[in-house]
């Protein structure tokens, strides 16, 4: 396939640091869209603010680069007003789950057919390495110089609890799985959440002595296991990858169409 067909070359070079994992997500994303055969004019990318959010400008889709944390709220307006569009919302961990936490849980509760992509690098990269709600206790950040005391969210559990009907997780090391989960998430009829562990060697890596980008990628390989793996029972520290929730419940825009039928029935 021709990756460049999906990119806005005028926008390049991209602004991500050397070794950043987000480019891998971009690559997997356009391959997933290509694999699904969705036309570019039917794709909308809505993003917030942060390193992750810049992904929307690089692709040749309709792109809406919005406010910090509010991408899902903008996306809800796009999707409900024109349900025929495919709406993907790439967000960072702080963007999605700190400032945008309210919109995240409510979009999940509504089960509106939007794909939320949480690119989790456990830090606020754009502002220079502060701790995020996914950094975790004991990590170091520019705003946690004495090590972090803030407990972290589990994105998968949060999304599941809030009612998302498709919930999955993978890492940028597992590129093939990333592509396949992206396809599933985009195809899913309802609110889908895909958490992608992505490395930030510049800030999270440096502050927490995680080594180079390659070292961090290897830690994704070694620190994760497929869902339901026996290894996880032996070592609870391991992070599970795969599909956690995949169910069909009434989708919001379809439910709204039924509501209109009731309202217009004389």
């Amino acid at each position: 396939m021709d990756v460049k067909y999906y990119l806005r070359e005028r926008f390049f070079p991209h602004m991500w640091c050397a070794g950043c994992g987000h480019g891998i997500v971009l690559n997997a994303l356009v391959r997933a869209v290509d694999g699904l055969g969705i036309k570019k004019r039917d794709m909308v990318m809505v993003s917030g603010i942060g390193c992750s959010s810049r992904i929307s400008g690089y692709v040749d889709f309709h792109s809406l680069h919005t406010l910090h944390g509010r991408a899902l709220a903008f996306a809800t307006g796009v999707k409900l007003s024109k349900p025929s569009l495919n709406v993907i919302v790439p967000m960072g961990d702080g963007d999605a789950l700190a400032i945008g936490g309210n919109h995240f849980i409510h979009a999940a509760r509504r089960n509106i057919n939007i794909t939320a992509l949480v690119m989790n690098n456990r830090t606020y990269g754009m502002t220079g390495g502060q701790f995020s709600p996914l950094s975790g206790v004991g990590t170091k950040a520019t705003t946690a110089p004495y090590s972090n005391i803030d407990r972290e969210f589990d994105t998968v559990e949060l999304a599941t609890g809030a009612g998302a009907t498709f919930v999955a997780r993978t890492t940028v090391y597992h590129v093939k799985q990333l592509q396949s989960l992206l396809k599933k998430a985009i195809s899913h009829n309802g609110f889908s959440v895909l958490e992608v562990l992505s490395q930030c060697p510049t800030y999270f890596g440096r502050k927490n002595r995680k080594g180079s980008a390659v070292d961090m990628l290897n830690s994704f390989k070694d620190g994760t296991v497929p869902v339901g793996s026996k290894k996880k029972q032996d070592n609870p520290e391991l992070i599970e990858r795969g599909v956690f929730v995949d169910k069909i419940l009434p989708e919001y825009c379809e439910a709204y169409a039924e509501l209109v039928e009731r309202a217009t029935a004389k």
């Binding site: 005028r10 926008f11 004019r41 709220a73 307006g77 569009l85 309210n102 919109h103 309202a263």
Partner: protein
């Protein structure tokens, strides 16, 4: 829609005006004293096959209408004081990204929670400068339900014409008061439709390149033209830029498209101004009391008049200057500490003193309040 005489709340008049203007999509969050706008539209929009959504908060309501505007819809949200504060960041986004939308603020007492069920006009300057950064804004007001309806329609027209958010600055008394409304017939108030680009697929479309007349044709999300929309400084493609000349050009454009067209978006009413030596200037529900005083005093032969402003921002300075040039006494009647009085003073100049007649206790300013202060200003003693 045939001519229909109704007896409604101002909030209902606003909802009816929005439907008349072709509202496609409403997102909102419950807040007193604007909730009836959402409640009315929750009935009317689905029945018209259009979209209504109650969002999780004020911020998301503002964001959702911006998203819905980009797919080609006429959109609106409504709120009050605290909710208006919460919407400011996204309001600025709509200014920057040039998204047509209408934001209703039915003003209540503030700051903070203030008094949800009592009246105030304390958000006049927040409407002007509430969001950060240099910008211009449009805000309209009304003192009766016929004008609430009309100004709501005009708000949509201005939003579409200039690709800008428009604020409807109503107040609690107007929102909750019931009075007669004659719903105009279809076509009675002209409507401005979304201006879409005529460029075909494959032809370079620039979403942020103004035409010669200053207007910027849009293209709906989902249509053939794909472009970037951002709150960052951007070029004609919508791509982020920090080139000084482009930044300057963008900011000037955002301000000039409003400020250079003040006359085209100025709505006002004048009562007995021709020979008036005393001129009251007012807007919203306060203008009702001001008009009452003017009529009473006119009956007694006093040369007094009223300029009622329906357009608050951009401030019609020229109009105010012209109307007041032969007056001996100018007084602004408003329910705040003189938020519009400041702009009137600037417009009138230093030769004349401009006075404030106000009330600041959550109560409606009535004719007696105005007359009491007028007596002092006119040197008639207390």
């Amino acid at each position: 829609m045939s001519k229909k005489i109704t007896f409604v709340q101002g909030n209902e008049a606003c909802a009816l005006g929005a439907m008349y203007a072709g509202l496609d999509f409403y997102a909102g969050y419950p807040i007193t004293p604007s909730t009836e706008i959402a409640e009315t539209l929750a009935v009317m929009l689905p029945a018209a096959g259009k979209k209504f959504i109650q969002m999780e908060d004020e911020i998301s309501s503002m964001c959702a209408i911006i998203g819905a505007s980009l797919t080609g819809n006429k959109v609106m949200t409504a709120t009050s004081g605290p909710g208006f504060s919460l919407k400011q960041e996204a309001l600025g986004y709509a200014v920057m990204a040039e998204i047509p939308c209408v934001v209703v603020n039915v003003q209540r007492g503030g700051p903070s929670t203030g008094n949800p069920t009592h009246v105030s006009q304390g958000d006049v300057n927040q409407a002007r400068w509430g969001t950060h950064g240099d910008h211009s804004i449009v805000a309209l007001s009304a003192s009766n339900h016929q004008d609430v309806f009309k100004m709501t329609v005009e708000a949509f027209n201005i939003a579409e014409t200039y690709r800008t958010p428009v604020i409807l600055l109503f107040d609690e008394v107007i929102g909750h008061m019931r009075e007669k409304l004659i719903v105009p017939e279809e076509g009675e108030i002209p409507l401005v439709a979304r201006l879409r680009t005529s460029l075909k697929e494959g032809v370079n479309y620039h979403p942020y390149l103004p035409r010669e007349d200053g207007r910027l044709p849009m293209s709906d999300f989902g249509d053939v033209h794909r472009f970037n929309v951002t709150g960052l400084y951007h070029d004609m493609w919508g791509f982020p830029t920090d080139k000084p000349e482009l930044v300057q050009e963008l900011l000037r454009h955002l301000i000039d498209k409003i400020e250079n067209n003040v006359h085209k978006m100025t709505f006002y009413k004048s009562y007995f101004l021709e020979d008036a030596s005393t001129i009251l200037i007012s807007y919203g529900s306060a203008a009702r009391s001001a008009l009452s005083v003017v009529k009473q005093r006119r009956n007694r032969g006093e040369s007094i008049g009223l300029l009622e402003l329906n357009t608050i921002w951009p401030f019609p300075a020229e109009l105010v200057r012209e109307c007041t040039q032969h007056a001996d006494l100018v007084a602004v009647v408003e329910m705040n500490v003189g938020q519009l009085t400041q702009s009137v003073k600037l417009a009138v100049g230093t030769q004349k003193r401009v006075h404030l007649i106000n009330r600041l206790d959550g109560q409606m300013i009535i004719d007696k309040d105005i007359k009491r202060i007028l007596r002092i200003l006119q040197g008639r003693g207390i």
